[in-house]
Subunit: 411 residues, 2 copies
Amino acid sequence: MKPSVGGGWIEAQNSRGQTGLVPEDYIQVRGQCSIDDDEWDDESDDGKSTGGYTWSQSEEGGGTMQLWLYPQTQLDCVVADPKKGTKMYGLKSYIEYQITPNSTNRPVNHRYKHFDWLYERLMEKFGCAFPIPCLPDKQVTGRFEDEFIKMRMERLQGWMSRLCRHPVVANSEVFQLFLTYTDEKDWKIGKRKAEKDETVGVMVFTTMDPEIRELDPTEVEQKCETFSRFTRSMDDRVKDLLSVGHLHWKRCTGPLQKEYQRIGKAFQNLSSVFNTSGYQGEATLTEALTATGKTYEEIAEICAGQPKKDLHFLMETNSEYKGLLGCFPDIIGVHKAAIEKVKEADRLVAMNKIGPQDKHTMAKNLSTMSYALQAEMNHFHSNRIYDYNRVMQLYLQEQVQFYETVSSLYL
Amino acid sequence: MKPSVGGGWIEAQNSRGQTGLVPEDYIQVRGQCSIDDDEWDDESDDGKSTGGYTWSQSEEGGGTMQLWLYPQTQLDCVVADPKKGTKMYGLKSYIEYQITPNSTNRPVNHRYKHFDWLYERLMEKFGCAFPIPCLPDKQVTGRFEDEFIKMRMERLQGWMSRLCRHPVVANSEVFQLFLTYTDEKDWKIGKRKAEKDETVGVMVFTTMDPEIRELDPTEVEQKCETFSRFTRSMDDRVKDLLSVGHLHWKRCTGPLQKEYQRIGKAFQNLSSVFNTSGYQGEATLTEALTATGKTYEEIAEICAGQPKKDLHFLMETNSEYKGLLGCFPDIIGVHKAAIEKVKEADRLVAMNKIGPQDKHTMAKNLSTMSYALQAEMNHFHSNRIYDYNRVMQLYLQEQVQFYETVSSLYL
């Protein structure tokens, strides 16, 4: 771990020796704040389960900041080596991907439908609390084409890495099962258990128990409102960027490429005519015209290939965020409903319809939800900054490279 | 005059101290070939007139090469300083341009309609023998807008420079009158004389008298055929280039500019949203997004302004050549008709319908025309190489500049 490189980023090295930037928040938590290392069991609160969640809070400016407790070693995995497999004596074929987590360094194999199964489990269990990124689209035709497999693998890699970065999801039993099952039997037993998991939906909050719960309700509502506005605006802007990006992609690979090719041909054809003049001393000119023509044909290719080099990652990141942003209205809605319920509880206690203990439980649950939502907001922001910093760096590098390459063609 | 810079070009300095490339042929003629310095009078052949034409021939490869005799100092002029004038007590207004030839360094003033008058005279007198470039279009609306005046002036400059480069046209009485008239009276007298000139059309060939006239008729016909094919092909290619150039111009200043602006806005809007997050440590990111957005807006402007810097001159040159190429079918047609006439004369002599002396005169005239056409072909080729070399050099420089400028925006 190297010192801060500015902008809230720290250069870090992962277990595979790859270096990259990590948000400072990922480690500030442990360095600056009181950390609750206890774990809560899903149901019995007896501290034995491995599926518990922890968080911490950090002093920031005047207020406090709720953060998930991030592990010292960030979980990650590599999705690679897509292989065609067959079933039922070759009647059915499928693609299997190899996933290697940095925690075990032992590869496991999964088909797309297993990822889809995992997505269903995570949505069911965490969908109320965290945005679970959408899986890359299903596709019926062309499933076995190399280009499609490569693209799907890249997207599954992005999907897995994003989930690995979420400390609560990454630490969950079902996610760990997916990454570290030992054999088919282990996988089948784990699958059955996960499908029977009852701690899903809002129940997931009952498994969380922050030490400090005194949050100012007005401040919480304000923060939620700010965040809600933020995600809505960001959603609009991300969609704008995606839409103009698609347009630009189409232009670069369509009419612009064709136009550069036509210009290239026009110069070369003029050169060919000049070559038939029978007049002496125009070799330099015809060579220049031919070279210019060829340069334009090269520009056509570079221009058509450029979106894959820069726009691609910008679009992928924004598509991912479009998916994440789409999850927040529901998550915020669940929280709002809980606030209403507690307000309603006040009325019910006054009418003696419920006891003060019931009201206390409801308030406690709301408090946990508020904590979780705020930790999630901060998680979202730090990841957003990380992701956009990375994609912008790459984008700008590739843009410079593009213009330098084209200008060098002329020299 | 500096030594050859390759490709048939020599770096030269004009009387205004501007340097440029000059085709080597412009001076090779005098250096290598026998030069006929005599002049022929328009009508009396007495050597006193200043309107006579001369040429030379140069040995080239195995054959001979007919060339106009180029003057040691190339005539040129500067068209500048457009001024609005009025007539009839301010009821009629017009633009007057100042034309300064390098031969006298004394400016004369002309309106567009004077240029048009000159064009009519030159077409009438030389249209059978040389391609007279078209005048820039007339325009009724917007005649007094700065942009239009600038463009017209630039095109009149190009038109005059091209005519100045033609030794026969440049040396003609009417052209000299246009450039060097001393006062209104001089201009009016000269105008009347030029309008009464009878040595026009095919008669112009009677004023030319090459020393050597033994040209192989088969070779002449072959050369004409080659040249005719060449100009037709070049015409097609020039039109292609103009058409794709127009398309590219429209795209650069239309949809592409708008698209870059939209991308720029999309980045900046995303940056604005990020600024409202209330989350710490994203200044670097929002600055990068804003800078990228602004860069795209700059690219939009550079991209929209680029055609004026490079494509413009390429289009102007090609438009000029489109005009010149359109003149050749008539010129070649006149020559073909003369060949047919001489063939017919053989028959008429056999039938005793004309005397051998008449036939001899007709053959002599044809020979002069063949010489003139071939000198003109060579003139066309050497100018073509000169013009395209120059415009391509400029074009490529501006293209490199464009890509370098854009890549530097990112750094």
